[in-house]
């Protein structure tokens, strides 16, 4: 009786082993995650010079549209703000107009200052590049002659959830 059981057990072992030989398996556990990502970049070196006027009117404003901007966010309702490194000289206004990517809203041409202002809102889970960025410089007659100056414009993407 003992031998009968032994033979049966060995047979079962042989069967299982043979089946395993036909389909060997191995496993790995792969862990993954995606963190919040918000990136903005700009390209171009704009330069604006006011040098004419129509008699009787304020100096003629100038625009520069050689710049572009790009954005990547995997969050919802992110926004772009812009601010200057220092206030503009009296009588001068520097404005920026960022074209909105799909589904977002642009504030249009907006005067920049040392305090951040919203330029594009409702940016949700997208990546887009080559978006238009236009600068405009306005001057009053009272501003007088202004020597060549520079300002750093800082764009920040914030507020995504």
């Amino acid at each position: 009786m003992k031998f009968t059981k032994l033979v049966a057990a060995a047979g079962a072992l042989s069967f299982v082993a043979s089946a395993a030989a036909f389909a060997q398996t191995a496993t790995q556990i792969v862990t993954f995650q995606v963190n919040a990502i918000n990136q903005i970049s700009v390209a171009g070196a704009p330069s604006l010079t006011i040098n004419t006027a129509v008699a009787g009117s304020a100096p003629t404003s100038v625009t520069d549209n050689v710049s572009t901007w790009a954005v990547t966010t995997n969050q919802s309702t992110a926004k772009i703000t812009g601010s200057l490194s220092a206030a503009m000289p009296a009588g001068l206004t520097l404005s920026a107009n960022l074209a909105a990517p799909a589904g977002a809203s642009s504030a249009g041409l907006t005067a920049l200052s040392a305090v951040a202002v919203d330029l594009v809102t409702s940016i949700t889970k997208l990546n887009a590049s080559g978006l238009g960025l236009t600068y405009q410089l306005d001057a009053t007659s009272a501003a007088g002659v202004v020597a060549s100056s520079t300002r750093t414009v800082t764009y920040t993407i914030t507020g995504g959830v």
């Binding site: 033979v7 060995a10 191995a26 790995q28 862990t31 993954f32 990502i37 970049s41 990547t72």
Partner: protein, 159 residues
């Protein structure tokens, strides 16, 4: 008191021979063909992007697989599948380097159905090669909390 029983002894000898034969057969079968992996890869984390482009992929090439087949005249293949689908907007791609004389299919997006990774495996001695995982996410995938999937590799007859 022991009694000599020739017939019973013969039966025991025959039974022992059967047992030994079956066990040796089993050991031989399992020992001749095998597939194993070196462990699980570190977490694949996507944390950056270039503005205007999708998030940068996360890559891990730290693990390996080892394979042996029973008979060089009976080619095998290695397949892999996930236990559950990946989150929307993400893909987990795997690329197994080929072991000697086998052919790698190249990078394959893993799914819940088996995907061929390496085919025509004929090496009858143990060979080891690399496994590369690439995790991609679109911007639309959003933030994905830490999750995991089980990847099951299977060694099967080819084709």
């Amino acid at each position: 008191m022991r009694i000599h029983q020739p017939a019973a002894s013969r039966r025991r000898l025959v039974a022992c021979a059967w047992v030994m034969g079956l066990v040796l057969s089993a050991v031989s079968a399992t020992g001749a063909q095998s597939l194993s992996v070196s462990g699980s890869p570190a977490a694949l984390k996507i944390t950056t992007a270039s503005a205007g482009s999708p998030p940068n992929a996360a890559v891990n090439s730290a693990t390996t697989y080892t394979v042996t087949v029973r008979n060089k005249n009976q080619p095998q293949k290695i397949t892999a599948q996930l236990d559950a689908a990946m989150p929307t907007g993400t893909t987990l791609t795997i690329d197994l380097s080929p072991v000697t004389k086998s052919t790698s299919v190249g990078p394959v997006d893993l799914a819940t159905t088996p995907q061929d990774l390496v085919v025509d495996v004929v090496n009858t001695s143990s060979r080891t090669a690399g496994i590369t995982y690439t995790f991609n996410a679109s911007s639309g995938a959003g933030v994905v909390p830490s999750s995991f999937r089980t990847v099951t590799f299977t060694l099967l007859a080819f084709p």
